[in-house]
Symmetry: C2
Subunit: 301 residues, 2 copies
């Protein structure tokens, strides 16, 4: 059973208990371009009280540097090295976990942010934002030359997804022996300030279906993402809490890492999703309606 938090005493106790705070971003800090009410103050309070803060996002369209601009834009002060994205996790996985040889390449379904993280990790790539692959012209297999050095296909959210990219990725995955299938994250949808749109998991769903094969996923809820954080930041799991709006990514991610979890209802998950007979089996430790609620600890005179 989750503990529902609502009073300033509840929030005060939570602040006392946890030293390191991991946050999901979309649906927790903001929705689309709008910061969630009260979140600016809450981050100020946490920083003032000396809490370690880590922002963990499955957004793979932006590099950490780009993502920093999003924080700036909505008025949240964070440092680049506090941000961990699934594109970064994918790049680190390729460069440091599987240690792809330098002469090998990856084929990218994804946007500039994913390319930037790969470049920073020294991974050669093709596809991605290459104009030749961003086309609705019909794909002619007879004009396609398979690059034998492509040893992995890596997929993130790509709003310029098209049949040429899918077909090329499919060729590499079926014709280059041992070619790896890697995905930044498997979010089925993502929230914007105007509504919900198909997510990264939907973008590579065609490959999963055509191949009948699951990718290696580097984002939440997978351990790869927490390994990335652990490599850079010291934290005591018993004094660490993961705050998120999704049960099957954020809350599961916290649980997989042995962390406490706080679900907020400003994003994808509704109160109905966690109560009643059809409630999820993923149960957060704490629930509050919004991260902004925590500002009440400093509201009293």
């Amino acid at each position: 059973m989750s503990v529902y938090l609502s009073s300033s005493e509840d929030y005060e106790a939570l602040l006392d208990q946890y030293d390191t705070w991991l946050f999901d971003c979309d649906g927790v800090l903001w929705r689309g371009d709008q910061v969630v009410d009260g979140v600016v103050q809450v981050l100020h309070i946490l920083r003032k009280r000396g809490k370690k803060m880590i922002f963990v996002t499955n957004n793979a369209t932006k590099s950490r540097k780009d993502y920093k601009k999003k924080f700036d834009q909505v008025g949240l002060e964070v440092h680049v090295d506090e941000i961990y994205g699934s594109a970064y996790a994918a790049a680190v996985y390729i460069s440091s976990v599987i240690k792809l040889p330098k002469e090998k390449k990856v084929y990218v379904i994804g946007q500039a942010g994913l390319e930037e993280e790969l470049r920073d990790e020294g991974v050669s790539f093709l596809g991605g934002t290459d104009p030749a692959d961003n086309t609705l012209e019909s794909f002619k297999l007879e004009n396609f030359t398979l690059d034998p050095d492509v040893a992995a296909v890596v997929c993130g959210l790509d709003t310029r997804i098209n049949y040429t990219k899918l077909s090329k990725a499919f060729q590499y995955l079926t014709r280059n022996p041992g070619c790896l299938f890697i995905a930044t994250n498997e979010d089925s949808t993502y929230p914007t300030s105007h509504g919900t749109l198909p997510g990264a998991g939907a973008v590579w769903a065609p490959l999963r279906f055509a191949l009948d094969r699951d990718p290696i996923v580097t984002g939440k809820p997978m351990k790869t993402m927490l390994d990335c954080v652990k490599a850079k930041v010291n934290f005591d799991p018993h004094k660490t809490i993961m705050v998120g709006d999704r049960l099957n990514t954020d809350i599961l991610f916290g649980q997989n890492g042995g962390l406490a979890t706080l679900l907020v209802l400003t994003g994808v998950t509704t109160k109905e999703d966690i109560t009643g007979p059809s409630a999820s089996t993923i149960v957060p430790k704490f629930v509050t309606s919004s991260l902004g609620d925590l500002r009440s600890v400093e509201k009293a005179p």
Copy 2:
């Protein structure tokens, strides 16, 4: 256990036994633009012997009229009313099975052939080949106006698939109450003369994943397709055989309809797929390496 056919006596017995012959096209009659060796002669023989022939295709990119051109092009003489496509089945399903009211519309992910069949059945539609929806420009939800009359999304193979189409379809399916999710077919891949490419099932896989919902499928192996044939053609199931290259569409389709089945190995299924410990549980009645083999009944002097 399947019966493997290889001698002219085998084929002669098969011709004696079946009066109505249903054929899959891609991978059976042709691969890409190349007719399978011997098939021209085999169809001549069947016609000469007074066999009823029906061509059942999951190809939803072409209308029956368009598809006729494909037969002409590879040198096969058939009549338009011998052709049954999954786009036609989807249009008939919408107009005659669910009887969509005339003021309602469908949103199309698909190509001109699907639009033509819908138009012929008097179904109003939007999306499809509309230039506004065939773009890689970023999709802005704030600029999108939901049409409340869209009561179904229908998906076929669409090689101009893009994020705008997926996002619009997703909006209709999540925001228009009761909006139906219909797919022409769920082929994961399709064969061309230069190799294999992602199929219709891969094109709508993003929606299935984002929605966590399966579509109603009108193509093979579903009964809807055979209902379409039955409405137009009289045949005795005991004297009817379905010839195809895919176990999970063609052969299952034949079995679902109580027909005999003949698997050919000129398409997707290999000998390895039907033998050994990991063989499919879908077992065709007969197997032969190619439909062209049947010409041997007239080779002997």
